[in-house]
Symmetry: C2
Subunit: 196 residues, 2 copies
DNA sequence: TTCACTTTTGAACGAATGTTCTATTGCGAG
DNA sequence: CTCGCAATAGAACATTCGTTCAAAAGTGAA
């Protein structure tokens, strides 16, 4: 009856994935529907069969990505014995799971005066997911006596923005050097907030 | 003889400044010549009187900005007694002197496959200026026994990328909160690399 | 095999974009 | 005063963009 026919849902997924890759690489304005069409192998018109418009397409895929991200992190967050280890775990997780660093692209959209207000509001939720996860770690670390933090909110912002840019290196680096970069960042950060 | 007439050089400067502001706010692809024309108050055609094309315009103003930045830093770099203080000074300097965070825009251009090879090569030099300045501080800090750093190059990259994103906050924050953010970042960073 | 309906295409359109070109303005030397 | 040339404007152009639309193809049920 209202079962899905053909592989339409799969198609939608392919388009979303390729679009995410392109958005992350070339930005929102820099990525055209023609680009997405070429990369995904489906016609330009067909993209509009699945998504209302370019803005909605970006919104859908970025929010979906973040939702997955949050769920996946929640599933493993409990497995770290200390807050410090949890922070290392988070960096590792971020590196492997924001395959496509969409957050800066969301910022780009948010900055543009032509962006519709509804989109703008929806974008608010984009950064909120990872920020909440970071914040939880820092709060826990303070309570456990591991961290010495004056202003947790500010610290969260600092850590979040740092992770955000490091994510962009996933587009140009890989393997061990990339891993060391993330690890070293956490080592420095922890060194700066560790209780002594 | 070949003296400048009218206020042409000044006009060129105005266009460059307004363009820098727009590029920083809306990115390279997101900023149109029409935008720059509107903001600067000069006609679209006149922009092409001063600059060969959009790419060259961006290149000129970003390299020029960086050149100024580097010179200005060199002038005050010697006035800090310790490397730690120099790092704080750098953060303060970055906050006040990259009025317009053009580095991410340079990255955007560099990522785009349509960007000409010459432009690409010129862009290499963009990040090089601040990175060299950061690197010098870390090297000095190690020599003076202030910092304990395994890999100075990696540390430079980490500090540079962090400063880069923090710069974007200059577009949405100001005054004391902004200043505290930069300061706190350095405090954390120094805490992580300080010799103990 | 037919038929209704979902999926997919590709042509078409208006708006916007980067760029070029021609015309106009206005300074300053003579 | 006037004439040449730098400075500026704005129309015009080709291209690309996001989006729409009508038609074609493919699918599964009957």
């Amino acid at each position: 009856m209202n079962k899905r026919h053909y592989n339409s849902e799969e198609t939608r997924q392919i388009i979303a994935e390729k679009a995410a890759k392109l958005f992350a690489q070339k930005g929102f304005a820099g990525t055209s529907i023609a680009d997405i069409s070429r990369e995904s192998g489906f016609s330009k018109g067909h993209i509009y069969y699945h998504f209302e418009n370019k803005e909605k397409l970006f919104l859908h895929l970025s929010l979906e990505t973040m939702r997955h991200w949050g769920e996946k992190w929640q599933a493993i967050a409990g497995s770290y014995p200390t807050s410090t280890q949890k922070l290392y775990g988070m960096a590792h997780f971020v590196m492997n799971n924001y395959k496509t660093p969409l957050l800066p692209v969301g910022q780009e959209l948010a900055m543009n005066p032509n962006t519709s207000p509804e989109t703008l509001q929806a974008l608010q939720g984009l950064a909120a997911t990872p920020m909440a996860a970071y914040s939880a770690i820092f709060h826990e670390g303070v309570e456990r006596g591991e961290f010495d933090i004056e202003n947790v909110e500010e610290t969260t912002l600092l850590f979040g923005s740092w992770m955000g840019t490091l994510c962009q290196f996933t587009l140009t680096m890989e393997g061990e050097p990339l891993q060391r970069l993330f690890q070293q960042a956490v080592t420095i950060f922890v060194g700066g907030i560790r209780k002594r």
